[in-house]
Structure formats: structure tokens, C-alpha cells
């Protein structure tokens, strides 16, 4: 069923009796050409592009819970392409371009809102670093705008620009950045993949891989064996756990990241704002809640909840630049499990086992990557070659020394 304004009016006039379930609930077949493990944003996007762009029809997405129950439904919905390094920036800019056409491509309202993102500057050194980053962005075809404190004051009069310790001295803006309704991304990709013939199999946990003579033949699941020509893993925070079933150790640690949302308010915050001196970022959802977060808790965790010291740290950051937030009540807080890689950058690659492919290491920034990650992973699965924007995301880069370390902090995942 195509969605359109006409359809909405027609349904409104006929008592909304014509809406149908958005995707099927099929029984797993005994064999697929390609099986994707993980029905998060990345797995579903991979399935969509496999079917729509690469002509692969016999594809299944296998999800242990319900689609969208993982990080794709837990993140703070920010999209941007403001990276510095060559291995990253073309990929994230490709992703932002895909976001710009996503709703037409999917015929689904994902509420892509290019309301802009502003990274605040608090010192001379930081200004130099941000100018360098902005130039790298422009060189890669993205947009970047160095804003003065005066311009910032005009657009965001509520910011505390004269904090005694960390006064705001400008900012690097990307006006094409913004936010997207995260659940709708999972649903939109799922609906499109399903309509192109992909089987989305929920409540089905992958419990093992059938590997014979170094070749992956399929997956063992809680609903029986499912054969596959190729298996692509895209399980984000569960990557270490899943790939240990194939006796692999990954350059990844799982960490918990928390997020918070206040009661609904009238529109007060026009874009996404990030604090440059601590770690705090905030935007306002279309429902009115101020959505914000900060650092990882900092220790290995598979619990989808964090601890109080980080809550305090995030709220201190908030009060330093956005004191009005102190007047709002926090409605909800939650955590998600992050697949933190050893250099802070992702992996989209084959493994040493034939037919077994890996997509992971997205850290706290994989939501914005969803379209490009799906496209590049589909490219790899369908053609067995790397997508031109994702050639640096090799699994063996740690062995070979080709790290993509945006922050320059080395092999310590909790610092990325």
C-alpha cells in the first residue's frame, strides 16, 4: 500500500478501516541466499538496499526480539556528517545524502528534520581544531559554517555564553545536520524490505553458526536451522556475544550509554547543540521533550541501564550552557549497549570464515550511519567488493596499523 496525502484523507472519511499490517510475519524458510542477523536500523537498511538496489530477493532478517527494540529505538536521533578523517567523512556524507532522499525512497515519513547541529567552541585551541574539521568537511562535499558568538547569541539567546570557566567562543555548525524519528527509520526500512520480498523474522534468536570446512552454511536459531549462502551480522552491542559463537574475538568492548528526556515543552530549542568543554548534547523532539545525553558510563556493560555519577555529570554539563534545562523535569532515562571499537570507528567487512560477514563497532554514533551502513553492507554482501565510501572499515586494520582514530585516544574504547 502506498502512503500519500490522498490516502490519509480517504481513510479519514471511511473510518480508518483500510489500513493493513505494514509487514508480514512469515515462517522462516529452510534456506535463503542472504541472512541478516539483527533487526536494528542497520540490518533492516541492509535488507532494503539488498532488495531494492542490488536485486537480491531471497533475503531474511532475523531478530531475537522485536525490530526496533535495540539501539535504533534508544538513541538520541542526531544525524550529521562532521567528521575529520578521510576514512570517515565521505562515508558519513554519503549517509547524510541518503537521509535527504530517504522518505521518498521508502515512501515513509521518517520525520527527517535538518534543523542543524552546532558544536560549541570554548578555547582558542578548540577553534583551530574545529576550523580544520570544517575544512575537511567542505573538502568532502559537506557543509560547515564557523559561527561567531554574536551569531550564536542571536540564534540561541538562552545559551549561557559567559560561563566563568568555559565561555562560549563560537561554534562549528552543520546546517544540514539534524534529527530523525528513530523508530520510523526501523519501521520504514522494514516496510520497504518486506514489500520487496524480504522475510522479517522476529522473536528468533541466532544461537550458533553452522561452519563446515571454514565455510558458513547458515545459522542455528531458537526456531531451528536456517541455511544461507551468506550470513551478515549487524547486531551492534551484541557483536562480541554473537561472533563468539563463531569463535571470534573482536576489537570491540560493549559499554552502556545513557540518555534522558524531559517533560514536553513548547518549542524552545531550534537545533542540536553540543557542549565542547564537557560532554553534553541536547535537542528538542517534535513532541516537545528536551532529549539529551553525554558520556558513556565508561565500564564494560550489557545492562541497558547506567549509574548515577554519569547522570550528575551530564546534568552539570547541561547547567553550564543551557541553564533553562534546570527548570524542566526529567521524565525518562534509559541506556543502550554500545559496540565500542578500539579506534572509535566502525567495521564493515568479511571475516576469515567464508560466507560470514560483519557490520559493527558503531559506538555511540551509528544512528546517523544507518542508511550508508545498510547500503555499504548490502554492496559487500551482494557483490563481494567494498563500497567506495567504506574502504577503510576493514576488520584487519588493527593488525595492520590502519586505525581510524578521530579522537586520537588510542585503543581505549571508553575514551572514544
Amino acid at each position: 500500500m502506498r502512503y500519500s496525502g490522498f490516502r490519509v484523507i480517504k481513510e479519514a472519511l471511511t473510518g480508518h478501516k483500510g489500513w493493513k499490517p505494514v509487514w508480514r510475519d512469515p515462517e522462516p524458510a529452510s534456506h535463503y541466499d542472504i541472512v541478516i542477523v539483527g533487526g536494528g536500523g542497520h540490518g533492516l537498511a541492509t535488507a532494503h538496499y539488498l532488495a531494492k538496489e542490488f536485486g537480491q530477493a531471497r533475503v531474511a532478517v532475523i531478530e531475537k526480539g522485536w525490530i526496533g527494540g535495540g539501539n535504533v529505538g534508544r538513541n538520541t536521533t542526531i544525524i550529521r556528517s562532521n567528521y575529520l578523517l578521510d576514512g570517515n567523512e565521505p562515508f558519513y556524507e554519503f549517509s547524510l545524502k541518503l537521509w535527504e532522499g530517504l522518505e521518498q525512497d521508502l515512501n515513509y515519513n521518517a520525520m527527517v528534520s535538518q534543523r542543524g547541529i552546532l558544536n560549541l567552541i570554548h578555547s582558542d585551541g578548540q577553534r583551530d581544531a574545529f576550523i580544520r574539521r570544517g575544512n575537511a568537511m567542505i573538502l568532502n562535499g559537506a557543509d560547515a559554517d564557523l559561527m561567531t558568538t554574536e551569531a550564536i547569541k542571536k540564534k540561541y539567546p538562552f545559551l549561557n555564553t559567559s560561563d566563568a570557566r568555559f565561555p562560549i567562543q563560537g561554534g562549528l555548525a552543520q546546517h544540514r545536520g539534524g534529527t530523525v524519528r528513530h523508530d520510523a527509520v526501523a519501521w520504514g526500512y522494514a516496510r520497504s524490505a518486506d514489500s520487496h520480498g524480504v522475510d522479517i523474522i522476529q522473536n528468533c534468536e541466532v544461537t550458533g553458526f553452522r561452519i563446515e570446512n571454514g565455510v558458513c552454511k547458515g545459522v542455528e536459531t531458537s526456531r531451528g536451522f536456517i541455511g544461507a549462502g551468506k550470513v551478515g551480522c549487524a547486531v551492534a552491542g551484541s557483536s562480541g556475544r554473537l561472533l563468539s559463537l563463531a569463535n571470534m574475538r573482536l576489537p570491540i568492548e560493549s559499554h552502556v550509554l545513557q540518555a534522558f528526556v524531559t517533560e514536553g515543552l513548547k518549542p524552545v530549542l531550534p537545533g542540536v547543540i553540543t557542549f565542547g568543554a564537557g560532554h553534553f548534547y541536547c535537542s528538542q523532539s517534535d513532541k516537545g521533550g528536551l532529549v539529551f545525553g553525554g558520556n558513556l558510563d565508561g565500564y564494560n556493560s550489557y545492562a541497558q541501564r547506567g549509574n548515577l555519577p554519569v547522570v550528575e555529570d551530564v546534568c552539570e554539563g547541561a547547567m553550564a550552557i543551557l541553564p533553562m534545562l534546570g527548570r524542566a523535569r526529567i521524565l525518562r532515562m534509559w541506556g543502550g549497549v554500545m559496540d565500542m571499537s578500539m579506534d572509535g570507528s566502525p567495521i564493515i567487512d568479511r571475516t576469515h570464515i567464508d560466507g560470514l560477514y560483519f557490520n559493527g563497532g558503531w559506538c555511540y554514533g551509528g544512528f546517523k550511519a544507518t542508511p550508508a551502513s545498510g547500503f555499504a553492507f548490502a554492496h559487500l554482501l551482494a557483490r563481494d567488493t567494498l563500497h567506495p565510501t567504506a574502504t577503510a572499515y576493514r576488520l584487519d586494520r588493527f593488525r595492520k596499523g590502519y586505525l581510524i582514530d578521530e579522537k586520537g585516544v588510542g585503543n581505549q574504547p571508553n575514551l572514544h
Partner: protein, 95 residues
């Protein structure tokens, strides 16, 4: 989380900084035959278990000792806290 420091008693986890898997104590032999592959393993690959995990915490805002904490990564429960120097010595290291 509360970390029951073997010398100082229960302390808030915010006094500590976290390094990672306690296997980082077992630095490979730089003169060994497979040193380059051993160091790759040591520096980059992790078991990353869901469940009990032995890990290194540094009492930065306290007595600046390194601890080996045995903690469940699913529940955040802590079952054992030892001085890292004791653990290293028990493994045959000189300090």
C-alpha cells in the same frame, strides 16, 4: 556502583577510572617469537563477555592503587575486589 576496596573499604565507583579487561596485566614478551601477533591480540582483541568479567580499575581520587574487580557486566554486581599487585604476583610477576 560501590567498589569494596581491599584496603579502604567501600568506595563510590566515581572515585575510580576504568581501564578494561584484567588480561592487560599479562603483557606479552616483546622478545617472543610471535611478539607482533601477540601484541595485536593484547592491544586490540577482547573477550567482552556478558556475565562475569575481571577488570582493572584505578583509584584515581583515592590511594592510587590498581584493583582487579570481578564484576557482572549484565547486573553490575561486584563479587570480588583484589589489589592488582597481588594478582600479578600470584601470576608469577615480580611486582
Amino acid at each position: 556502583m560501590i567498589i569494596d576496596h581491599p584496603l579502604l573499604g567501600p568506595r563510590d565507583s566515581s572515585e575510580f577510572t576504568y581501564l578494561g579487561d584484567a588480561s592487560l596485566i599479562d603483557r606479552p614478551d616483546p622478545a617472543g617469537e610471535d611478539a607482533s601477533s601477540d601484541f595485536y591480540d593484547y592491544a586490540y582483541l577482547r573477550d567482552n563477555p556478558a556475565g562475569w568479567h575481571k577488570e582493572l580499575w584505578f583509584h584515581e581520587a583515592g590511594d592510587r592503587s590498581w584493583l582487579v574487580v570481578t564484576r557482572n557486566t549484565v547486573t553490575h554486581e561486584i563479587s570480588k575486589v583484589e589489589l592488582a599487585s597481588d594478582v600479578a604476583r600470584a601470576q608469577g610477576r615480580s611486582k
